[in-house]
Symmetry: C2
Subunit: 462 residues, 2 copies
């Protein structure tokens, strides 16, 4: 199991990360030391290799000969890895295919048939391998995945994430109601037993959850019986595992929940009433929440995964992120692929800005999210949502090295390789470079990716 | 001047283009013959090389030895080149840089300083060369450009488009009012004289407008005096040249127009009253038009350039494209870079779909534009907007070969090169492949680009 970097590394050059929601910190000519376990043991501002070797290494008990050095070239910078707080690995082959559908018909037309087909192990391996490689190439160092209802294929996703070195939460979809006969858990009992089977499997491959953690995954209230949700709530209490589900994505879905669970006053109360709303719960979408619902989520310390690409694609609505943040609720970004068409969190970053503009065009100018804010959501915000705010999402001593090296093309440099879609003319400020990356960047700008100190993706520039 | 292909070419394989607004036509195992002038002289469905050489070549008087053959590989297809009906070449270095601005402060903060700086010929050459290369690489075979107020730098843009082989409308920005002292035409007279100077220059380099056409460009009503607009209206009558301007982009702008031109009942009537609204007029944005305005535009046969990326970026609003189309007005797509962050029409295609979804979320489900419809806007729609509907935007005998070859990556094919962001698993229908390209594709999928039969861009796969 390749879960550690197994080597001491000195990273040199420029580092950029979120200092707060609205502010990026730029550390130039700086150094970060990462130990064999992938943990950051030193962050030195304005400090070159010589000085680090002379002053910092002795404190760490390091000698220069045993340390690998990785330097960002001028204009390049290290940035925290992205955290995708909501992604359906099993829907990857449908990315971009959704027609004019909305949530409920989209599930039946595109999603359930695809997910069901991944009970074929060979197909699952092909799809899951590719989605992990792709998301790593887009800088996603942590993903909270939905797999399918199949135990072997969910376990395979866990195995592949561990092998390829992506930090992941792996959820077997629990759904014993209102789904087609060909793709539904037989009963609450089998659904719970199957979920335990994936938990046991992951305990076998990564006992201390260094990279892989199971996550309890009631698909969404309409596809879960009361018994199943109660059982998952009890399992959460027993195991203290995180929970992920969908909430308040689409108006027809909300009406359906009201019809199916008339004893509850809101969608949020349905989860709360079954023991599924707590500080380790990730609620995806949250587009149409009421004041009472956001207040309850805040009270329970529940987390929200904002999925702007998905919400604009299958016309769910425009989530009011500023309102959530003002309420003090933690928000991260999710691709929600393939409700969202893209596996890239950078695309979600861009669309989070645009969706916030659409909210602003509805009348509330303060709704607009800045470049700094959407990048915060993709890193520190996401880390808080998945409960790893102390470990990832930024650079600090004691945190783990989940990072990406970003580079952009210099106009006139006559590089033979494809340096990507961003053109830097040379007169841009650092804020402007970051804005250019956010709005026009893609996986070509992500030159290398590390998780827990291990190099898990590198773009070979030819 | 390299304005013709100078060789007969036989294109073989799959061809996809719009049959109508809502329908794509797929021509597989087909052949298109393009003559030395870049004109399509034969379109043969279901017809391989042997059959073409045997049956079609004799009719054309062609012999196999003199014909270059270009074949799309399985999964690849030829598609009409994109038409960008509204793009500011001079703003390219600012792509992605707009902060939280809206139109009027955006102009003063980012745009006027950049445009003004391009009076430096060396800088203009660097920027314009790059924007042409970039837009060609994104498949833009025709662009309706705004340059700056500078005559030499506007002429340079025309020269570079001709040299690099992009079909272009070149507009010197006319603006003698309400602009900063450092960047404004001195008077209506100088503005008109300078405009005539660029028309004369283009008549010298491309007398029959085979590729390059001047376009009269009153920036927008607030920056034009009545004399200037009247003068441009008269010049249009004299020359029959096309006109481009902005209209009804932003609510503060509309209020400003109302204040500046109290004698007119609407923004549209301001242009109409100065002889600037006719069948050759391209109106960019048209976000907040009234019923009376769209009816007047229809009556005058004016055209609309829809700029969804820009409208969502600088929070202008959501243009009602379905409503325009239902009124019978021709609509094309514009990047409006750098109000829009991207030089790619494919990005505008994507965002046109998303913006139409936002209009639909406002209550009118019929507003949603399909994949087929947004691709129509980018090709045939754009061709009609720039007055070249008979020549470009689709494949037909007598039309010119403005085309791009599209390819996507096959999962598991182990190609060493970067085949781009789209993954084809092999089980997708052609409609699904197109949807994947539209939502996740980028310039890596545009393998080659031709304008008027001339190969003007090719991606070297290593």
């Amino acid at each position: 199991m390749a879960v550690s970097s197994r080597q001491k590394t000195l990273f040199l050059g420029s580092f950029v990360h979120s200092k707060s929601l609205g502010e990026l910190e730029f550390l130039h000519d700086s150094a970060i030391c990462v130990d064999e376990k992938g943990v950051i043991v030193a962050v030195e501002k304005g400090c070159g290799q010589d000085k680090v070797e002379e002053i910092v290494f002795p404190k760490l008990g390091w000698t220069a000969g045993e340390v690998t050095v990785r330097t960002s070239q001028p204009g390049q910078f290290f940035f925290p890895g992205f955290i995708d707080t909501h992604i359906h690995a099993s829907q990857y082959p449908n990315a971009g295919i959704f027609g004019k559908s909305t949530l409920l018909d989209w599930l039946n037309t595109y999603t359930f048939p695809m997910e069901s087909s991944l009970s074929d192990a060979a197909k699952a391996k092909k799809v899951y391998s590719r989605v992990i490689e792709r998301t790593l190439s887009h800088g996603t160092t942590t993903a909270s995945y939905y797999a399918t209802i199949s135990v072997p294929s969910t376990n395979l996703l866990a195995d592949l994430c561990l092998e390829k070195g992506q930090r992941a939460f792996i959820g077997r979809c629990c759904m014993d109601s209102l789904a087609p006969d060909y793709y539904r858990d037989v009963s609450a009992e089998t659904s719970l037993a199957d979920t335990r089977a994936t938990i046991t499997h992951i305990a076998g491959i990564d006992p201390t959850n260094t990279l892989i953690t199971p996550i309890l995954t009631p698909r969404f209230a309409p596809s879960c019986s009361r018994d199943l949700m109660n059982g998952l709530g009890a399992l959460q209490k027993e195991t203290n595992l995180p929970v992920q589900t969908h909430i308040s994505e689409n108006k027809n879905e909300i009406a359906l929940v009201k019809e199916l669970f008339p004893e509850f006053d809101s969608y949020t109360e349905v989860y709360d009433g079954h023991g599924l709303l707590g500080p380790k719960t990730i609620l995806a979408h949250a587009v149409h929440l009421s004041e009472a619902e956001i207040d309850l989520i805040k009270k329970r310390e529940g987390k929200i995964s904002h999925c702007p690409v998905s919400n604009s694609s299958i016309t769910s609505g425009t989530a009011r992120v500023r309102w959530m943040l003002n309420k003090g609720v933690e928000v991260g970004l999710g691709t929600d692929m393939s409700g969202g068409y893209s596996p890239s969190i950078l695309e979600a970053v861009r669309q989070a800005a645009l969706v916030s503009n659409h909210v602003a065009m509805g009348g509330d100018d303060s709704a607009k999210l800045s470049v700094e804010e959407v990048l915060y959501l993709a890193t520190r915000g996401g880390a808080n949502v998945v409960g790893l705010g102390e470990k990832i999402g930024g650079f600090g001593v004691g945190m783990e090295w989940d990072a990406q090296l970003i580079g952009m093309g210099q106009v006139g440099s006559h590089e033979k390789c494809d340096t990507g879609p961003v053109d830097i003319f040379g007169w841009e400020s650092w804020d402007e470079r970051i804005a250019k990356w956010v709005f026009n960047g893609d996986d070509r700008n992500t030159l290398a990716v590390w998780v827990k100190g291990r190099l898990v993706h590198e773009r070979i520039l030819q």
